[in-house]
C-alpha cells in the first residue's frame, strides 16, 4: 500500500515535469475554448449540436493523450532502466502497476480539469457556456474516457519494448476505437444474419470504452431517444440512477481486467528477466 503510494507520488512528480503533459493540457484547454466560442447560442443544456460536437472532439483528443502519456510512462521505465533498479527492491508488480495508474490518472484528471476549468471560467466571462448539469456530465464523460484509455495505455506500455512500438500500437488502437469502429462493425456484421446484428453491436459496444462512454453520456444528456426503438429498454434503464452505478461498475470491471492483464504480462517478464 505504502509502496503504491510512493510510486503514485513519484509518477505525479514525473508527470508534471513532463513537457508533454503541458502541451496536451494547453491543447485540450484550447479545444474547449474554441468550442465555446463557435457556439452562438450562449447557453447549452442537454444533447444538442454543440454538446454532440464537444463529445466528438473530446473523443478525438483525450483517448490519444491518455494512450500516449500512459504507455510512454511505462516504456520510459524500461528504456531508462529505472525499472531494473526498482525490481531489485521488494516492490510487488501490482503495487507498481496500480501506483503508475493512480499517478498518471491524477495527471490526466488535472489536464481535464484545467481544460474544463478554463472553459467554465472564461465561458462565463464571455457569456457562453454549458449549464451546470451538462457541464458535469461532460466532465464525467471526459474523466471516464481518460481513465478507460489509461488502463489500455498501461497494457500497451507493458507489451511494447520501446516508445516507438508503444506509439504505433497506441495510434492503431486509437484509430480503431474512435474512427474505425463504425466502419469495422458495419463491414463485419454485414455478413451476419439480421437478428444477430443488434445483440452483436450491443456486446461489442461493451468492448469499446469510447463508444460505451459516449452512449452513456448521450443517454444521460437526454438524447437516448435518438438511438432508436431497438435500444429502448437499455435507454430507460441507463437513465435511472441505477444506470450510473452500473456504468461505474462496468468501468471498474473493465479497467480492473485490463490492469490485471498488464500485471500478468509484466510479472511474467519480471520473473523471466
Amino acid at each position: 500500500m505504502i509502496q503504491t503510494a510512493h510510486i503514485a507520488i513519484r509518477e505525479v512528480k514525473l508527470g508534471f515535469r513532463n513537457p508533454w503533459a503541458y502541451s496536451f493540457m494547453g491543447l485540450f484547454a484550447l479545444f474547449m475554448l474554441c468550442l465555446l466560442l463557435i457556439n452562438a447560442q450562449g447557453y447549452v443544456q442537454g444533447y444538442s449540436g454543440i454538446t454532440g460536437t464537444t463529445l466528438n472532439l473530446i473523443l478525438y483528443l483525450l483517448p490519444l493523450m491518455s494512450l500516449l502519456l500512459g504507455s510512454f510512462s511505462l516504456t520510459a521505465e524500461k528504456e531508462d532502466g529505472s525499472w531494473e533498479l526498482l525490481s531489485v527492491y521488494p516492490v510487488s508488480t501490482w503495487s507498481f502497476i496500480i501506483g503508475k495508474y493512480v499517478g498518471l490518472a491524477i495527471v490526466l484528471l488535472v489536464i481535464v480539469s484545467t481544460g474544463f476549468g478554463t472553459a467554465g471560467v472564461l465561458g462565463f466571462a464571455a457569456g457562453s457556456g454549458f449549464g451546470l448539469l451538462t457541464y458535469l456530465q461532460l466532465l464525467a464523460f471526459s474523466s471516464s474516457v481518460a481513465l478507460f484509455f489509461l488502463a489500455i495505455a498501461l497494457l500497451i506500455g507493458t507489451l511494447a519494448k520501446n516508445r516507438w512500438q508503444a506509439l504505433t500500437i497506441a495510434v492503431a488502437i486509437w484509430f480503431f476505437a474512435i474512427i474505425g469502429w463504425p466502419p469495422l462493425l458495419i463491414a463485419v456484421l454485414g455478413f451476419m444474419p439480421y437478428p444477430m446484428i443488434k445483440p452483436m453491436v450491443t456486446l461489442l459496444t461493451f468492448l469499446n470504452p469510447a463508444e460505451l462512454s459516449r452512449l452513456f453520456t448521450v443517454v444521460k444528456l437526454g438524447g437516448g431517444a435518438i438511438l432508436g426503438p431497438e435500444y429502448y429498454e437499455w435507454i430507460k434503464w441507463i437513465r435511472q440512477a441505477g444506470g450510473s452505478f452500473s456504468f461505474a461498475a462496468v468501468a471498474l470491471l473493465w479497467i480492473g481486467s485490463v490492469m490485471a492483464a498488464a500485471q500478468f504480462v509484466w510479472e511474467r517478464r519480471r520473473l523471466r528477466g
Binding site: G42, Y43, S113, G131, I179, K198, A225, L227
Partner: protein
C-alpha cells in the same frame, strides 16, 4: 320508574340520531337534479346555475344556455358510464362549469352531436375522452381546460387507457381557441373533419398535440406544445396551414418529433419554432408542401426527409441541431435559401447566398433503414468520418441549391436558460485544484 327511564333513553337516542343523520340527507339534497331543471326549461332559455355540485349524467336536447352565476363555482359530477353531458340540440352553450367525470369508461365526458354548440371556460377532469364531437359543425370550444384525472387501481396506467382531449369525427368548421389540454391521449384529434381552426391552445404531456387524419383545410396557428410524443401530427391530410406554433421538448420517446407530415399534401408550414425535439421536422411520403421561415433549433435531428417529393423549403433556419438534416429517397424537392449552421458556404457575388450547395448525406439514413441496430452510431466520430467519405450518387441527394450564409434574424431560444454561474464556480474550483496539484508535483521537497 324504570319504564320512564327507558322511554327517556329511547327519546334521547332518537333525537341524537335525528341530529346526526339530518346533514347527510341535506348533502344528498345538495346534489341537485340538473336534468329536471333542463327538462323544465323552455327552448332558448338561459339557466343560471347557483353555486354547488350537480349530479350527471345530463342530456340536453333543446337549445339552452347553461352558465354558472358569475363568481360562483358550479360543478357537475358524474359516476355513471354515460357521458356527463350529452348535447343533442343545436346552439347549446355551456359557460364556466367544472365537470368531474373521473371514472374510466368508453363514453366521453362531453358528447356533442349537434351544430353551433359553444363551450366556454369549462374545466374538464376526465377519465375518458374530454369532448367528443360527432357530426357537430360550426361549434366553438374556447378558454377551457381538459386534464386527465382517471385512476387505474390494479395496474400501471397505459397511454391507451386515455381518451383524446377533443375528438372530432365528421365535424367541420369548428373553432378551438385558447384551450389547455394536459396528460390526455391526443390533444385534438380530427378525423374526416374539415376546415377546423385550432388556435392559441396549449398542449402538454400528450401523445400528439394536434392530430389530423383525413382532414382538409385545417388551420393550426399560434399553439404551444411541449413534452408530447409529437407536437403536430398531420397524416393523410391536405391543405392544412400550420403556422406560428411552438413545439419544444418532444424528445423523450423514440418516435418523438416536433412536426410530422405523413402522406400529407399541399400543407403550408411557416413561422413555426421547433426546439429541443428528437426530430424537429419529419416529412415522409408527402408532396407539394411549402415549408418556409421556420426556426428549427437544438433538435437531435433538424429535418428528416423520407420518400418526400416536390416539396418547397426556403428561409428555414437550422441551428444547433446535433444533425442538421438526414434524408432518403428525397431528391426531387426544391430546397433553396435555408440556413444550415453546420454548413460552411462561399458567397462570391455578395447576395447573401452560398454558391456551393448543401447536400444532405443519405448514408446514415439508408444504413439504419436496412439495419436499425446501427442506429447506435448516430453522430459517433467514426460515423461522421464515414459519411464524409461516402459521396456516391450525389445527384440523388436532397440538395439546398443556395443556402444562406447567415441566419436571417436573431433566432430566439425558448427553452428556459439557467445561469452559467454554477458551472463557472465549479470550473474555478477545478482550476484552483489543478494548479495546486501541479504546484505540489513540480515543487522540490
Amino acid at each position: 320508574m324504570k319504564n320512564v327511564q327507558k322511554w327517556i333513553l329511547v327519546f334521547l337516542l332518537g333525537v341524537l340520531s335525528f341530529i346526526c343523520l339530518t346533514p347527510s340527507i341535506k348533502a344528498e339534497d345538495r346534489a341537485r337534479d340538473l336534468q329536471s331543471l333542463i327538462n323544465e326549461a323552455q327552448a332558448g332559455a338561459t339557466i343560471i346555475l347557483a353555486q354547488g355540485i350537480y349530479e350527471g349524467p345530463v342530456i340536453i336536447d333543446k337549445p339552452l344556455q347553461l352558465e354558472a352565476r358569475s363568481g360562483e363555482e358550479v360543478t357537475i359530477t358524474n359516476n355513471s358510464d354515460k357521458p356527463a353531458i350529452q348535447i343533442n340540440a343545436d346552439d347549446v352553450a355551456l359557460t364556466r362549469i367544472t365537470i368531474r367525470d373521473e371514472q374510466i369508461k368508453k363514453q366521453p365526458t362531453v358528447l356533442i352531436q349537434a351544430d353551433g354548440v359553444l363551450l366556454d371556460q369549462l374545466q374538464i377532469h376526465t377519465g375518458s375522452f374530454g369532448i367528443k364531437m360527432r357530426k357537430a359543425n360550426h361549434g366553438e370550444v374556447r378558454n377551457s381546460s381538459i386534464v386527465w384525472a382517471g385512476v387505474v387501481s390494479n395496474r400501471p396506467l397505459k397511454l391507451s387507457d386515455k381518451g383524446n382531449g377533443m375528438d372530432l369525427y365528421e365535424s367541420n368548421g369548428n373553432t378551438f381557441y385558447g384551450n389547455t389540454v394536459i396528460a390526455m391521449h391526443d390533444g385534438i384529434y380530427m378525423e374526416n373533419s374539415d376546415n377546423n381552426l385550432v388556435e392559441e391552445n396549449h398542449f402538454e404531456r400528450l401523445r400528439y398535440g394536434v392530430h389530423c387524419m383525413y382532414t382538409k383545410g385545417t388551420i393550426i396557428r399560434n399553439n404551444i406544445g411541449r413534452l408530447n410524443i409529437t407536437g403536430a401530427m398531420v397524416m393523410a391530410a391536405r391543405k392544412v396551414e400550420l403556422s406560428n406554433n411552438q413545439f419544444t421538448k418532444q424528445s423523450e420517446n423514440v418516435n418523438s418529433q416536433g412536426i410530422l407530415l405523413f402522406d400529407a399534401h399541399e400543407i403550408m408550414i411557416f413561422d413555426n419554432h421547433v426546439e429541443g425535439n428528437r426530430v424537429g421536422l419529419y416529412v415522409e411520403q408527402s408532396t407539394h408542401n411549402r415549408i418556409t421561415n421556420n426556426s428549427i433549433v437544438g433538435n437531435f435531428i433538424g429535418l428528416q426527409l423520407l420518400d418526400a417529393e416536390n416539396n418547397t423549403m426556403s428561409g428555414n433556419q437550422f441551428i444547433g441541431n446535433v444533425a442538421s438534416a438526414t434524408s432518403r429517397n428525397s431528391a426531387n424537392n426544391t430546397l433553396d435559401g435555408n440556413y444550415w449552421d453546420t454548413f460552411q458556404g462561399i458567397d462570391l457575388d455578395g447576395d447573401g447566398k452560398s454558391e456551393i450547395s448543401y447536400a444532405i448525406n443519405p448514408f446514415f439514413q439508408s444504413l439504419v433503414k436496412a439495419k436499425p441496430g446501427f442506429q447506435l452510431f448516430f453522430q459517433s466520430p467514426g460515423m461522421v468520418f464515414l459519411e464524409g467519405l461516402y459521396q456516391s450518387q450525389r445527384e440523388q441527394w436532397a440538395v439546398d441549391a443556395s443556402p444562406l450564409m447567415k441566419p436571417t434574424e436573431n433566432v430566439r431560444f425558448v427553452i428556459s436558460k439557467h445561469t452559467l454561474q454554477h458551472s463557472a464556480t465549479i470550473g474555478g474550483l477545478l482550476l484552483c485544484l489543478s494548479i495546486y496539484l501541479i504546484y505540489l508535483g513540480v515543487r522540490r521537497k
